[in-house]
Symmetry: C2
Subunit: 303 residues, 2 copies
Amino acid sequence: MSELLSSTHPFLSSLAGHLERFRGKRLRPVLVHLSAKAFGGEAPLAAEVAAVIEMIHLATLCHDDVLDDAQTRRNVPTVNAQWGNRAAIITGDFLFSRALERLGRFEDPRPYRIISRAARLVCEGELLQIGARFNAGLTEEDYHELITKKTAVLFGAATQLGALLAGATDDEGRRMEAFGRGLGVAFQVVDDCMDLTGVEASAGKSLGSDFRNGELTLPVIHLLTSARPGLREELLREFRPGQANFERETLQRHLQSCGSIDYALDVARRELNRASESLETLPPSAARNALQNFPEYILARTR
Amino acid sequence: MSELLSSTHPFLSSLAGHLERFRGKRLRPVLVHLSAKAFGGEAPLAAEVAAVIEMIHLATLCHDDVLDDAQTRRNVPTVNAQWGNRAAIITGDFLFSRALERLGRFEDPRPYRIISRAARLVCEGELLQIGARFNAGLTEEDYHELITKKTAVLFGAATQLGALLAGATDDEGRRMEAFGRGLGVAFQVVDDCMDLTGVEASAGKSLGSDFRNGELTLPVIHLLTSARPGLREELLREFRPGQANFERETLQRHLQSCGSIDYALDVARRELNRASESLETLPPSAARNALQNFPEYILARTR
């Protein structure tokens, strides 16, 4: 990633240096590497594809931070906090275009095709989310489509490409895609649960904002469909733009009494179980073991 | 473009319909078509490449409108005015990724290689511009690099790809790229002059904002280097963040007395003359004639 972002221009190179400080969990690059290893070793292109996928993820974070007016990310000032919104938006665009430009230099067209499609679906998922704001009629199926696009396809692209670059067949690639996609769906469901029940200090970000922002997530969709009529009316009165009086604790109590968090985590577990089945045909290896531990890792955040 | 943006989701399809209302001059698609025709007829891919280049241009406009808080564009409400900043930023991202995704479906890797590189350079140019804000030491060479990246490379990609897709050799493609790039540099110089001397009503946007925003353009660079010391000091005092008292008329008077607009337009004319030389080896055709009229068209805005 450093190499792809290096520049002789002082401003560009200080931006690039800053971006590297947002060192998160790097789940997507790890998935590329492990998926490549599970199919017989490190593919020469895997490192670059891993960097490119992380850059696309980072691009979406730059834009999110502008939109959320976030001041820090992982204890580092956001690009918008440091250089303003204009710089942050263009930095996102730059990361995105630099990533896709790099993929275009490969002889193999698959990385470019798979990742540019995934990137478009991520945007589509985000637009669907905007279009669904304060729509109390959002169904579980709508939500599933939305998070699949917004989050899971990029996980799926990571696992699929890791495998393909290491010589997996198209069929094996599709199975690995299903694995990554399942991880991504579960990851997002867990993330959405944490927004409702998590502890701010350990999350490192402010919580409870989804409902306030008009974004229905799985536990709340469950709550709205299973709540008694009076409670449902009460919740719908709160689910309107500008309801700053909303208290996260009240919502938590209702979610608790309707079993909505447990319901959502069960959905996540089922996704992860189905995802794990995709690994069954892999030959035994340390990489396979590490991939098999991913579901546990994703659920660990809930405890 | 309609086809590439079509969707079964009501929100996505209303966004797409809205985007089509920003019907501007469409210079870049026209350049793709004419360049293809100048090399022996309409290439089957040219229409899609033209749409893709326009989508990338439109993506940058969506982001610009958020950053400038613009309410209308060509008498149509901007995406940010209609659906908010979040929608506008993601719409830009969506246009961009959809465009690059489409290019990845071609067997021919040249369109996505050339366009993804151009898109990255556009972002780099915009970042250089941000890094250079309120830098009174910006030279004419810096400015040339900046506008080449920000504006001219996409014009160059349009003319180069039009030619290549119609069967031009690599050498011919490079000559057509130089033609488009020269047009783009001249276009931006003229645009920057219009910001200083144009009439708001006919421009359809507010003017005089470059200097206020800390962006030095060619006429002002010339003015700063050729002004007598007292005037230079006065200008530098105004060239600082938050100088809302700045009057465009005062600057106009100084530009007039130093011949700075004439100087900049001479630079534009020289670029256009050099660009036209690239067309000399083309066989006679209606398309060649139309391309040869482009310089006149670009300069017509100044009269």
